[in-house]
Amino acid sequence: MPSSHSDLKDTYYDTLDPREYIIIKRARVNNLKNLSVAIPRNKFVVITGLSGSGKSSLAFDTLFAEGQRMYVESLSSYARQFLGRMEKPEVDYIRGVSPAIAIEQKVNTRNPRSTVGTSTELYDYLKLLFARIGKTRSPVSGKEVKRDTVTDVVEWINQLPVDSKIIIACPLTIPTGRKLKGELELLLSKGYTRVLVKGEPQLIEELAGTKKKIPKNTEIEILIDRIVTNPTDEDLNYRLADSVQTAFFEGHGDCFVYSDKKKTPFSDRFELDGMRFTEPSVNFFSFNNPYGACRTCEGFGKVLGIDTDLVIPDKTLSLYEGAVAPWRSEVMGKWAQPWLKHGAKYDFPIHRPIADLNHKELELLWNGNKDLDGIHDFFKYVESKSHKIQYRVLLSRYRGRTTCPDCRAPAFVKTRDM
């Protein structure tokens, strides 16, 4: 292509292939003076010029505007009803434009929870990842919480020796206010013939007809199926899966497998140690969603509290030199006195700059002990007096947005253990 274009004949542009070039002929947008240009496709092109030269008119008001117009054209009729009024850039023609993606510099601040992670879609992937491979542990036993699927149970049965005789059962729960007899008749009508009483099979008809009194709390289970195992028998596997599914349904999530009198329980509920857990899902890991967000800060990661940096504004000072700002006043100075007198007893270095204190010493300064009141105790006291105006003023001076004490920045619920 020739390098000086101002003297090119306009007809030159008519001869170019729009599959190879984005062709703009005679653009008059803003200050553009019948500007014609052919920009090679699939190249990296810089448009430059002084500010006000018309380069943005070319890039945004002409090229992008046309790309946007084309995009709208591909949309629903709702969107398209505005198209008639969406002005075409003032040009003779533009050819070879693809749907345009303009990457602008305007920060979209509409969502205060939007973060680098969410804007890059990285969280979407992390959420998927954790939902798929994340493990839930019980805070009581530390064991992994798992639900049993039908496949899990079938696979467990099939690992038993071939020709094992097994029973698939589930608990019979009698809703309050209903009689055992009625429930048994219901079972009969559903087509079940046997139950297990204390693990022993018995015909339902017999049990229902017996004159003997059955004590309350007797363990009764519904016998769903009896099977002789054979993993290679495909029909049998289908029947197994069917029966396990039925057991989970009738047993409200519980299924028992008896083999050799040994009872193995399965549950398709997500629970352990008597607690029910929420299964990891994509939503669970979103702090834009009330499911997974910390309840104290609602997922913002910050709460209004005592700002430690306001309390100790200059960390090069020692406690003796007045590092704790609210204790500098004459009245509040009495909170520092015990430290200056007895600090040494607890190995607290009153002459050392706060910045040089170790973790244990800082912990002591904030939380205190049985003899010394810490900074937190001080603020608890101030809060208890906050009906008095001067205490409220004092409190407000040290309030700020601080890291949420319950989740400490990561905006997820803290009881979860990944």
């Binding site: 699939n42 092109v45 500010s51 890039a59 946007q68 939007s114």
Partner: protein, 483 residues
């Protein structure tokens, strides 16, 4: 999925954002950082056959990071996309397959294609300022002498964000440039500590400063402090350059003084689109109506009642020198200087806009259509117009070269130097080498970006001394400019 996560993190690093944490709130990012995040995301979703149009991806990037950005743009191209970038950054222009130069000047002196091709295609002097600069035939002059200083302000114990307990001396009555790679802490030092803490002393700014110990020195020399940032000059489409430099009042007065206005009893407010009276009530003087789209940028449509003129038909019947108020607002600054040349009060108020290189801007252009760099220069113009000798203002500029061509940078530097010559002090946060080389004093932060490797003072002193010290990234790039 792990691959997906890895590649996305990789792209974030490539666009020079490796120092960001994933839980950083988007609302706290700069425009440049946000754009680069969007860019990284586009790379991740790997669309093919699209046309990417970007506005100055180099904004906020230290030259060291620019090379990575170029790599990213090339990746996007190699995926099968057309990448069109509006840019003035030298390295990016050199790396492009093609440069399309629009000009040769601005406004009515622009609008034509002056050059298209690669830098290799030019020999000797051309009609293109861009090419001449790239070929070294035009230059921003290095000042023959650095200004000396004796008064200064010192910040002690600056610890906000990643700053490592810094003690920094800031000279007065000279041009100081605070520089460093992205994330080095330069903005934190100036915008979060120096400005609010001095502002508190002067009683002009209430926001709490970041963590620092104290500020000391010749603070009593200063009468005020001004942060000239790139935020829009007004929140709505109703603020515009002409009202910002206080020239609109005089123009409205002029129109209400015309005999037809007097006969009809028109007050100056009739010629305002901010209040009821003379404006078009369909669009309430906006000139356009907004249609909110769900998945894309809002669409603005011209008001059908006033055809975008913002005023009622009757208002537009009042003319001065052959033009009505809507036509006057449609004049560029340059055209207006000619139009008002016999009306000194109006002319002199408009002149500073021309001096800062905004001759092409329309008087009534709504502030939200001005770029950040243009908004910043409008503010600069409003100060240039004041010129009162008893003041000593400390001006802070945050990346004023954003959006500027070399040619515009030299104009801007002229305007900034004019402020110093009026007795003011100027601090510029900047990584543009053309500006750094013109500084009287440089404060270089780094050595890298981020919590761990940033926040130290790498160098304090004159440009010559920085090159001599050859410490840090800035010294390396500055060396080429000072030979």
């Amino acid at each position: 999925m792990i691959t997906e996560i890895r590649s996305r993190l990789g792209y974030l690093t490539e666009v020079g954002l490796g120092y960001l944490t994933l839980n950083r709130l988007t609302s706290t990012l700069s425009g440049g950082e946000y754009q680069r995040i969007k860019l990284a995301t586009s790379l991740g979703s790997a669309l093919v056959g699209s046309m990417y149009i970007m506005d100055e991806p180099s904004i906020g990037l230290h030259p060291r990071d620019t090379n990575q950005m170029i790599g990213v743009l090339k990746t996007l191209r190699d995926l099968g996309n057309t990448v069109i970038v509006v840019e003035h950054e030298e390295e990016i222009m050199r790396a492009a397959d093609q440069i399309v130069d629009i000009g040769p000047g601005a406004g009515m002196h622009g609008g034509t294609l002056v050059f298209q091709g690669s830098i290799k295609d030019v020999n000797g002097k051309s009609t293109s300022h861009t090419m001449d600069y790239l070929k070294g035939l035009e230059n921003i002059q290095v000042p023959p002498k650095r200004r000396k200083w004796k008064d200064s302000i010192t910040i002690f114990g600056a610890r906000e964000n990643n700053l490592k307990n810094l003690k920094v001396k800031i000279p007065l009555a000279v041009l100081t440039v605070v520089t460093g790679v992205s994330g080095s802490g330069k903005s934190t030092l100036v915008s979060k500590i120096l400005y609010p803490s001095l502002g508190r002393l002067m009683g002009v700014f209430a926001e709490t400063p970041g963590k620092y110990e104290r500020i000391d020195g010749d603070t009593s020399r200063l009468t005020s402090i001004e942060f000239v940032d790139q935020h829009p000059i007004g929140k709505s489409s109703r603020s515009n350059p002409i009202s910002y430099v206080k020239a609109y009042d005089a123009i409205r007065q002029l129109y209400s003084d015309q005999s037809l206005s007097k006969k009809r009893g028109y007050k100056p407010s009739v010629f305002s689109f901010n209040v009821e009276g003379g404006r078009c009530e369909t669009c309430q003087g906006e000139g356009e109506t907004k249609v909110e789209m769900q998945f894309m940028a809002d669409i603005f449509l011209k008001c059908e009642s006033c055809q975008g003129k913002r005023f009622k038909k009757e208002t537009l019947e009042i003319e001065w020198n052959g033009k009505n108020i809507a036509e006057v607002l449609d004049l560029t600054v340059e055209e207006a200087l000619e139009f008002f040349k016999d009306k000194k009060p109006v002319h002199d108020k408009i002149l500073p806009l021309y001096d800062v290189g905004l001759g092409y801007v329309k008087l009534g252009q709504s502030s939200n259509s001005l770029s950040g760099g243009e908004a910043q220069r409008v503010k600069l113009a409003s100060f240039l117009g004041k010129n009162s000798s008893s003041d000593h203002i400390l001006f802070i500029f945050d990346e004023p070269t954003t959006g500027l061509h070399f040619h515009d940078i030299s104009k801007l530097l002229k305007a900034i130097n004019a402020l110093i010559d009026q007795g003011h002090s100027v601090i510029i946060i900047e990584h543009n080498m053309e500006v750094i080389k013109c500084a009287d004093w440089i404060i270089d932060l780094g050595p890298e970006g981020g919590e761990k490797n940033g926040g130290h003072i790498v160098f304090e002193g004159t440009p010559e001394a920085l090159v001599k010290s050859s410490t840090g990234h800035t010294a390396r790039f500055l060396k080429e400019k000072l030979v």
